[in-house]
Symmetry: C2
DNA sequence: ATGCTAAACGGACTGCGGTCCGGTTATATT
DNA sequence: AATATAACCGGACCGCAGTCCGTTTAGCAT
């Protein structure tokens, strides 16, 4: 799949060694990587994201624990690897897809649409995203997060928001964080539609529209 | 201190046993509690928040590890206990303090002021708050967080925000989360003034003002 | 003072994420 | 085919948060 591979098959360099890419040399490494991703998905759908521990994954895949960490760097890295296809597909949508999420629509419309899309995306893959964020030292500096943030910033600029678009993008982005969305839906029973509607209201007011 | 004690000297019930309050019976328990809080503060100022591990704290205070967990329930509970005075003081400011943070000023002014105050507060105590959030299952449901959220919601209502004030409060509150603020300042070198200014802009636009 | 009981105590124990290092193996070179 | 070497592999090991349970003790009632 991977329309916009953010370094395809590479994890965000956790330890010092960084990025044993998918195609570089050793075929057994690549094979183990797929083996592990496959086993990880099995564990997740059999039980839950929380059940996906590094030891368990290693034993399930029949490899040593060290191998798991060498491949993915950390638990967060593993989660991101599991998410990377879905993430890349989402990136493709807002960067090259059809309007109003993709380019071609007015910026405010794009903001509204991409927020709604993000909400839907999060409700589908959010458990993994939340787990990734949870044990992430630097969740804000990871490539997909940076790209997402820059995209929001760009849309805000295009929409005519002059005051510190960088911080505005941070503030608005915070309203779409998986932890918050999942909590709203899961604990308080808020519907996705209401989330999207409030996002629309929020972003409309921020760009000074209406 | 504790102007508005959120159950004074009690931790947000973590385990099943919950809330061995400060004054109830056994004086040794209360004594150990103070002993532990004191030792915890020592460790933090000698080293850092990260250096404050439960084992270390227990040994430093000369008690068993079980005692630490019985008193505070979890690491997050300990962090909240360490924060509780500062948190209570802040609550006092926005609920009963002088305007514009406290009551008496127009709602938009109060929103702007309380955000700025929150930013300053976070930059002072944020390390503890971040540590508390980090290992908190239910960081949104803890009393101070709920009170803060409801306060934002109330101000939004008073300011005439009709559309789903609950979610709007969540969204705006997310822009003031310790993790985000500390990241902006610490990693990207954003100044507190710029944070406050952007908050002013954001909240002004949201309430539809000028 | 003495005895009773509920509560507090300590520290061994578990499972987890993450690191390290000696042994192994795939690939390139000759 | 033999060799060299860089990368890979496994699993023992560490520190941490959190749990459990047998033991001790504070406070009360008599």
């Amino acid at each position: 799949m991977s329309l916009i591979p953010i370094r395809p098959g590479a994890q965000p360099g956790e330890g010092r060694a960084a990025a044993p890419a998918a195609e570089s040399g050793r075929r057994d490494a690549a094979r183990n990587r797929e083996l592990l991703l496959c086993a990880a998905r099995e564990i997740v759908e059999e039980s839950s994201v929380d059940a996906l521990t590094m030891d368990r994954l290693a034993r399930r895949a029949g490899v040593g624990k060290g191998t798991v960490f060498r491949r993915f760097g950390s638990r967060a890295g593993l989660m991101m690897a599991l998410l990377s296809d879905a993430e890349a597909e989402f990136q493709g949508r807002f960067m090259f897809g059809p309007p109003p999420v993709g380019p071609g629509a007015p910026p405010l419309e794009r903001l509204i649409a991409v927020g709604a899309a993000r909400i839907a995306w999060t409700l589908e893959f959010g458990e993994l995203a939340r787990a990734a964020d949870a044990s992430a030292h630097n969740r804000f500096d990871v490539p997909p997060a940076v790209l997402w943030h820059r995209h929001l910033e760009m849309l805000l600029r295009e929409a005519g928001v002059t005051a510190d678009p960088w911080l505005m993008a941070s503030a608005l982005g915070a309203a779409l964080e998986p932890e918050l969305l999942l909590h709203s839906v899961g604990v308080h029973g808020i519907s996705p539609e209401r989330l999207a509607e409030t996002w629309r209201e929020l972003v409309t007011r921020v760009v000074g529209g209406q």
